[in-house]
Symmetry: C2
Subunit: 318 residues, 2 copies
């Protein structure tokens, strides 16, 4: 693949699915060419510690530390603190591993030293040997609130404690209106060398929409000269992981790649969907906006290939 | 030993040495007969978590969970969080074990629910199966500051980070003047059935003096009709554990049980010292104030026996 050395890429990324594509991108682009902006709408305080699930999934994935068996958290994890917490009558619905705890403690300490979330993330990435820039969407707190048939729930209560069982009616992003995009997110959006903006195959509602809810971001993406390309997290009417499909059903949306495309609307210049969904192509308004390839990243090679496919498609569109 | 069922005992207790005698007392007194008041001058916030070393040592000791190999912390401890913290560039001078962390997280959560340190301690003790009341000296923060030849140091920085190396010049107890004794401490001091007040063999300067620095406590102990009895933490001019002896040297005090007795001064009605120090008896102003016995609690039986000796002595004095 030939991607010009001067051309830059911005990846908007949630948790697991997004992190896989982000990993692929780090293998085909230099640290100077890539900025990975990560959703922080899932973040919450637990036991006074700042927990940033998407940032941590991305950093664990990029540093080779992710727990591939569990599909979340760190590898070689132990649960002694959590076991003891249970004996002490503490809350254990959020599964804090002993090693994972260290990243939250580190962030707490960096915050207490006056560091921003961006600075804390940079420090953590440096210690984990991650050379590509990973930045939070904002240094200000934005909290995804899920409106459900059981009332409003904070995201982690919905996602982890209630295991996505309540039916979803909508979302709001508390604090988003007042949250400035992080410096590096702003910088990437203003970079004249920006040549592709990739929306990773993350949950559109709770991983990507929180970023789009930040003041001005949606408009700035639309106006950006770089093509904005989303990779569908829905393949053959199913989500690879997580509650995206369940949410689309509950929201009365078309449970398909086309439903995802429609959700993003005018934001998109291009859309990457899986070969398994090729039959849907004729339902889209403009086939030139589409690229079909294997999007199910089952190996590192699969992640790299999807990254290459996205960049080639961006070159064609750009 | 016959200790009247109506007679109550108040134990003032620091960390390891004090906890041993407290354990002995729990084996000879009912939960109704005993109140264990614990020093909180060592407490500090670490990674945003409230760490209460003396309270934790007492609760681990009373629940049979203390790490007898290390001499501090919990048994069956693992260090995965700390190892990871080190990899992330975090502070590791305070050795937080994975299981130990859970007690600090639990306390954080209870504080965040609006519970006081007394309430949090009661909740933790209940979960650990401790039926004797263990209470902090105060619900307000009091922080021991050590004045050293390297300037003022917070207690844990002096004790753990600097491993007691700096030479001590004095102490102050930040916040003590404004800190009320805890409800249960007050209640014990006002209890007409109080028949013995035992100052456990803890460090006089940093475990006991913080309690005496609380408003009115010293006077109320002196005026109390129950005899106030201290057990010497110095045996044969040595401290069983910790920096008591080093501190006495640096403060220019007589490094002996007599030096401890003089430090407490008019507070004491009785003083328990080790048989090894029997030759010192003639140096004391009043031999009736003295009781010599084995104070080196090398086994559970030794702890129980010292508890019994203290109560018998209190009966004689009272």
């Amino acid at each position: 693949m030939s991607w010009p050395a001067d051309n830059k890429v911005l990846a908007l990324c949630g948790g697991v699915g997004g992190a896989k594509l982000a990993l692929g991108l780090t293998r085909v682009l230099s640290p100077d060419q890539l900025t990975i902006v990560v959703n922080t709408g899932d973040d919450f305080e637990h036991f006074g510690l700042p927990v940033c699930p998407d940032l941590d999934t991305v950093t664990y994935t990029l540093s080779g530390l992710s727990n591939t068996e569990l599909g979340w958290g760190r590898q070689d994890e132990s649960w002694h603190c959590l076991e003891t917490l249970e004996q002490l009558g503490g809350e254990t619905w959020f599964r804090l591993g002993d090693r994972d705890l260290a990243i939250h403690l580190t962030r707490r300490a960096l915050f207490d030293q006056g560091k921003s979330l961006s600075e804390a993330t940079t420090a953590i990435c440096a210690h984990l040997g991650i050379s590509h820039p990973v930045v939070p969407m904002s240094d200000a707190a934005t909290r995804t609130i899920v409106d459900t048939d059981q009332g409003e729930l904070s995201f982690q209560h919905y996602f982890v404690r209630e295991q996505c069982q309540p039916a979803v009616r909508g979302f709001r992003f508390e604090g988003a209106e007042a949250a400035s995009p992080s410096t590096e997110f702003n910088k990437a959006l203003e970079d004249p060398q920006m040549a592709a903006i990739l929306i990773c195959p993350s949950n559109p509602f709770v991983s990507v929409d929180p970023m789009l809810a930040l003041p001005g971001i949606r408009d700035r993406l639309i106006r950006n000269s770089a093509p904005v390309i989303a990779v569908s997290p829905i393949v053959a009417s199913q989500a690879i992981k997580g509650p995206t499909a369940k949410m689309m059903n509950e929201l009365g949306l078309d449970l398909s790649a086309l439903g995802v495309f429609r959700h993003y609307g005018e934001l998109l210049d291009g859309f990457v969907m899986d070969e398994q969904d090729r039959e849907l192509v004729s339902d889209f308004p403009d086939p030139k906006q589409l690229h079909c390839c294997n999007t199910v990243m089952q190996s590192l090679q699969g992640r790299i290939e999807l990254a290459q496919q996205c960049l080639q498609f961006a070159s064609r569109l750009g």
